[in-house]
Symmetry: C2
Subunit: 314 residues, 2 copies
């Protein structure tokens, strides 16, 4: 009984779904299209239909399902209420209750997708074995998730872990996507590091492997830095400074045991961990020194793994 | 049965003790001297003797005591282990276990004093009715406590909530007491605001009520600002900027619902709340705006109230 659970990760274009045994083994995973017609009203019915279909396919009875966890690309409070989700066309409603109604399964929980991914990495990824984890996702933007005692800190209105919008530069003149100025996201996201590189290149006339590239990317910058390119190294140092200094300040609030770095930019690997940790140790309060910095391990599965973990109590 | 509990707040010179009913009513409070002889080994036996004495005086049997909560001026982990406490001469040992042995009362919990005071303010003070609270104590230093779901976030090694050592100025050349540079404590503590004032006075030759005072204090600065003194107002603005900006960054991590400001500097009152909140709203991410800023209400009792709360589950 109660051997299985579902982890659902709703994104703007696809919904990733995983069927898990309650010890965290993936039995099956698949995707359905995110149907945004009719103000996003079709998304949950279609997801639930897909879950029912999978149960039939696998011969799993409803009472063998421990629960359904759901990650949503917007703020979600502890009761499972999503507080508007622009990407999907959603207003404010209780996602968990809705899915419970549609499936007849009582144990349904929902969380913000970045927070849920952090939970996944805590459970089976880079943060495995730790209860106090800070996850930072360096993608198009900078996302975050704070895990305390093995559970997500959601904040009062589901907006904890928004560390991409921590102000790290009060002198910044360009605006962040959020409209404010000097957010961590402006320097540490995939697009941010490219902007930083363009500034560094403009201030110098040194030869560099990353100069005059139309499609300059975070990957190109890290690759050049690994080859010893001076200006590329300066870009990586600046990224490391912002992230290391931000993590040292985060430590004064929640003192995590491990910092897990994920997202596309983290494909740069150990060079990224090293530069962040070096700057972290420089700024950390003495009681916060010597923490672990690790790469995320679950990639795109972090969302479905963390969603499953929402409904599993060990 | 189990109608009472003790809250103990161990300080460097006195130990404050409260006898409470489990609904939070203070039955009695008193102090004993902190006896630091013999490496602080006499402190806990003397405190426990004082508890036994009070029970006899009041005719309270041991099995009427729900538990004993203890605040300690140093880092304490979730198991009640204090990790060196320089002020008291203590090394690393389990305070909770020790008090349990000495009294024969099983339910003993210990926490860091600033965190425990935050818990007290959450329970019966400025944060009453809220589960997500950030407490900032502006005294000789700047202390903090983060309350999540009605409980203290202690951090991996008992050093969460050290927000006085959040770096807020990377250009600072003077050192903080901790040896690092640019800590919030350097600008927002009672001594910090006086240093800020001296810098502001030195840069200007305007007449000011706070100029040429041998014993310039935070109180004098706030009093002058309330009278409209321009340079004093500038000092208060700078204090508000640092605290408001720090709170906006803390919100990106844990999104508290209410910020409770205590300590000697908070006697300045509403002028302090207003200036912090004004700067907070300027820097807060949109999802974090419109939070409450309140003054602490329990004064010196916050420690014993919070300590009592450590052992009461409602």
């Amino acid at each position: 009984m109660n051997k299985y659970c579902f982890g659902v990760d709703i994104g703007g274009t696809t919904v990733k779904i995983g069927l898990f045994t309650t010890d965290g083994t993936i039995v099956d995973k698949w995707e359905v299209k995110t149907n945004k017609e009719d103000g996003g009203n079709k998304i949950l019915p279609e997801v639930c239909a897909s879950l029912e279909e999978k149960m039939q396919e696998k011969g799993i009875a409803k009472d063998e399902i421990e629960g359904i966890g759901i990650g949503v690309p917007g703020p979600v409070d502890d009761d499972g209420v999503v507080l508007t989700c622009v990407n999907l066309g959603w207003g404010t409603f209780n996602v968990a209750e809705e899915v419970s109604k549609l499936t007849g399964i009582a144990n349904v929980k929902a969380g913000n997708d970045a927070n849920v991914a952090a939970l996944g990495e805590m459970w089976l990824g880079g943060g495995k074995g730790h209860g106090e984890v800070l996850m930072i996702t360096l993608g198009t933007g900078v996302g975050g998730g704070v895990i305390h005692n093995g559970k997500i800190i959601t904040g009062t209105k589901g907006a904890a872990g928004e560390i991409g919008h921590m102000t790290v530069n009060y002198e910044e003149e360009d605006s962040c996507n959020c409209g404010r100025k000097g957010c961590l996201e402006q320097y540490a996201s995939a697009t941010g590091v490219v902007k930083v590189a363009k500034r560094i290149l403009a201030k110098s006339d040194e030869v560099s492997a990353i100069r005059d590239k139309d499609n300059l990317s975070a990957k190109m910058i890290f690759d050049a830095a690994k080859e010893g390119d001076k200006l590329a190294t300066e870009c990586v140092e600046q990224l490391g400074w912002y992230l290391g200094a931000a993590c040292a300040n985060i430590a004064t609030v929640v003192e995590p045991d491990v910092y897990v770095i994920g997202g596309g930019v983290s494909k740069a690997g150990v060079i990224l961990l090293d530069v962040i940790q070096r700057h972290y140790e420089k700024y950390a309060f003495h009681a916060h020194k010597d923490k672990e910095f690790k790469l995320a391990e679950l990639g795109n599965d972090a969302g479905i793994v963390g969603a499953a973990k929402l409904v599993i109590n060990e």
